[in-house]
């Protein structure tokens, strides 16, 4: 047991840091939840991809560097510490790609992953439906057998990035007679340039279009866009959701960066001891998440499945993120509520944007109430 980075890990950190110092835009990009901001973020992803930094942990043949999990964590630390833009390709690179590596065909990987790494295709997730939120298995969208493929019908909603993305992935009911967790199929489908799909952006409480609803009325999808076997979608999706809850969705890097900014803010504003105490606690919680993740990364590298224990991390980081941003607002007072458009905005409005974004954390990827129930039943073994 040690906490010493290897020379190779240190070199990788130095390379990432140097590249980011040269390349991170000096001013924040416009919000990715606007048409222009989305394209600005796509351009940033292309710049990352050109340096083979958009998906460092993937094998080289798909545009990655074959980096280890620890190296990926190091990259994330440097990325967020450098104040680099949010990842518009998040859903594809960190949620769909792990599922493609685990369940996709070689052909699917060869066709989809390089375009994903290069941000030629940006992916949205399409899990929730109006009547299937926390209870995802209640979903009703259907895929009906057609010549050489499937036709999709139904209504997906709260689909992150769907407003401007190119593709989406989600679950569809292919056997209405089967029990509700069976008869579901994991499908990938285009959001633009095809008949039978309509995307309606949804304005969020912060004003941007961070998610959308997707109306499907006979969109045709060929068989080679089925991920895994028809009817096996639930099992495959659960593999994705455990990466979503676990470290691939929110590596410690972004919370460490927020914690460091919060400490600087507390020092700058002269926080009273009670607030300063909470700031110190939040900084340490970010450290705890980091250390915990280093241990988890080692277990994953040794072939262990993390499974339902990933829910503990999800509750921990999402509530920490809200707490840190609330603390920043308490330190800033009314200034903390000013957007980037305000002349007096603190840190270009980043604290407000971050606060609003943090509030979604305990809701998405399975609400924290669902996560606590999972922890109780599947980690602790309490009765259902």
């Amino acid at each position: 047991m040690d906490l010493d980075f290897t020379p190779a890990e240190r070199d990788f950190r130095a390379e990432a840091r140097a590249w980011l110092r040269e390349n991170v835009p000096p001013r924040p990009l416009p919000s990715m939840d606007t048409p222009a901001g989305f394209e600005a973020h796509r351009a940033w992803e292309r710049r990352l991809a050109a340096a083979r930094l958009s998906a460092v942990s993937w094998p080289e043949e798909y545009g990655g560097r074959g980096a280890s999990l620890v190296e990926w964590l190091i990259f994330e630390e440097e990325y967020w510490a450098a104040g680099a833009p949010g990842r518009v390709s998040q859903n594809g690179v960190f949620l769909l790609a792990p599922t493609l590596f685990a369940f996709g065909t070689p052909d699917q990987r060869a066709r989809l992953l390089p375009r994903m790494a290069a941000a030629d295709d940006i992916w949205a997730q399409a899990w929730s439906e109006p009547e299937a939120g926390s209870d995802l298995a209640a979903l009703r969208s259907r895929a009906v057998r057609a010549e050489g493929g499937w036709r999709l019908y139904g209504h997906k909603t709260w689909s992150s990035r769907a407003a401007y993305a190119d593709w989406a992935f989600g679950l569809f009911r292919t056997d209405p007679a089967a029990p509700r967790h069976r008869g579901l199929t994991y499908l990938m489908f285009p959001l633009t340039g095809a008949d039978g799909v309509t995307v309606r952006p949804i304005a969020q409480l912060g004003g941007g279009h961070g998610f959308a609803e997707i109306l499907l009325d006979g969109l045709y999808v060929p068989d080679d866009l089925v991920l895994g076997a028809p009817g096996d979608g639930w099992r495959i999706a659960m593999a994705t959701t455990s990466s979503e809850r676990g470290l691939t969705l929110r590596s410690p890097g972004r919370f460490l960066a927020t914690a460091d900014r919060l400490v600087r803010l507390a020092r700058h504003t002269g926080a009273d001891p009670a607030l300063a105490d909470e700031v110190a606690r939040a900084w340490l919680d970010a450290e705890a998440y980091r250390l915990h993740t280093f241990a988890t990364a080692r277990r994953i590298a040794a072939g262990e499945e993390i499974g339902p224990a990933a829910s503990m991390g999800k509750v921990f980081w999402s509530e920490l993120d809200v707490r840190m941003h609330r603390l920043a607002q308490r330190l800033l007072g009314e200034r903390g509520l000013l957007s980037g458009a305000a002349p007096d905005a603190a840190d270009g409005g980043r604290w407000l944007d971050g606060f609003l974004f943090s509030l979604a954390g305990p809701i998405y990827a399975g609400t924290n109430e669902i996560q606590r129930t999972i922890i109780a039943e599947r980690v602790l073994g309490l009765p259902r």
Binding site: M1, D2, L3, D4, F5, T6, E9, V70, L256, A259, D260, V263, A266, R267, A271, P273, A276, D277, V279, A280, R281, W283, L284, D285, E287, A288, Y289, L291, H292, F294, A295, R298, R299, A302, A309, M312, V315, F316, E369, Q371, R372, T373, I375, A376, E377, V379, L380, G381, L382, P383, R384
Partner: protein, 328 residues
């Protein structure tokens, strides 16, 4: 970077756990304190020799190597000055070859009064007392000038020391009270993690069998979510304890801060586990009939030892707001 438990760490912990299961069951915690249950057997597996250098009959291990084993002593609520003897004593007696041999063999239980500590825990079960005065370590013969101060924990007893007892004290020139305090604080944090795990396990078991409204109370979400929160608190406190141990072992510049982080987080997680355990047990938990009270008291007792949460939080606040340097 390999922040995972090694096979050696796990093996020592598994052995300690087996010994404690067999020789330090709850009846022994309750009634066998004065016999120091399992002490001699743990000496046999080398627990007390862990931090003693090899040339003095010890194993020459790092503190970090013993953390999982120390968690087990907390899980069992093992009586006696375990953290003091395992973690503090080797640093205090570094210049006393004869004593180190006794330590390694388990024949020299040691208790201490270090730093801001007011009382000496389990002083009556120690053969040697070491107290810090003016930054130096002094050895006292056991049994002189001690007054038992009865309190909430009937097992981990606290003793005050008459100031005059220091007149008979012998200086320990090779002793390092600062290192000893760091180590014993981390060891105590590890025991708190172990005690919290025990409280969580026993409460989950109870909630799975106790029925009300025709169902096990553990099937109710209000109960589930409280226990999930305890699991989360313990899960994220434990790595801070390991980091503190590594930091102390390597004398990192952040060592004091890391020790405080470990103690504060472990203390709070354990207090949350204790509070939840009592609430989920309900009235039966509020009795002397169950062994639960022994673990509740141990958590309160250890959470206050070697600096309670408040002084450690204050130290963290100052340290982090002035320079939050990360390690690694």
């Amino acid at each position: 970077m390999d922040f995972a438990l090694t096979d050696d760490q796990l093996a020592l912990a598994a052995t300690v756990r087996e010994v404690l299961r067999a020789h330090c069951p709850p009846e022994e915690v309750r009634h066998g304190r004065d016999r120091r249950p399992a002490w001699a057997r743990l000496a046999g597996v080398g627990l007390f020799a862990a931090l003693v250098p090899e040339e003095h009959g010890g194993l020459g291990l790092r503190l970090a190597d013993t953390v999982p084993a120390l968690e087990e002593t907390g899980r069992a609520a093992m009586p006696g000055p375990v953290a003091e003897t395992v973690a503090a004593a080797p640093a205090l007696l570094a210049g006393e070859p004869d004593s180190l041999g006794g330590l390694a063999s388990g024949k020299l239980p040691v208790s201490v009064r270090l730093g801001e500590q007011v009382y000496i825990p389990d002083a009556d079960l120690a053969e040697l007392l070491v107290v810090e005065s003016g930054g130096r370590a002094y050895a006292l013969p056991a049994g002189t000038g001690l007054t038992h101060q009865p309190g909430v924990d009937p097992v981990r007893r606290l003793f005050s020391l008459a100031p005059s007892a220091l007149d008979a004290a012998r200086p320990l020139p090779g002793g390092d009270p600062r290192l000893a305090l760091r180590r014993v604080t981390v060891a105590t944090a590890a025991q708190l993690v172990g005690a919290a795990r025990h409280l969580l396990d026993t409460t989950v078991a109870y909630a799975g069998t106790r029925r009300q409204f025709g169902a096990p109370i553990g099937s109710f979400q209000a109960v589930k979510h409280r226990l999930a929160d305890v699991a989360i608190a313990v899960e994220f406190a434990a790595p801070l304890v390991y980091r503190a141990a590594l930091s102390v072992d390597a004398a990192r510049p952040t060592a004091d801060r890391d020790v405080s982080a470990a103690k504060a987080a472990a203390g709070e997680a354990a207090e949350q586990a204790a509070r939840t355990a009592l609430q989920v047990h309900g009235a039966i938990g509020y009795t002397d009939e169950l062994d639960l009270r022994l673990w509740l008291a141990r958590v309160w007792s250890l959470a206050a030892a070697y600096g309670g949460t408040a002084p450690h939080r204050a130290r963290l606040r100052e340290s982090i707001l002035s320079d939050p340097g990360r390690w690694p």
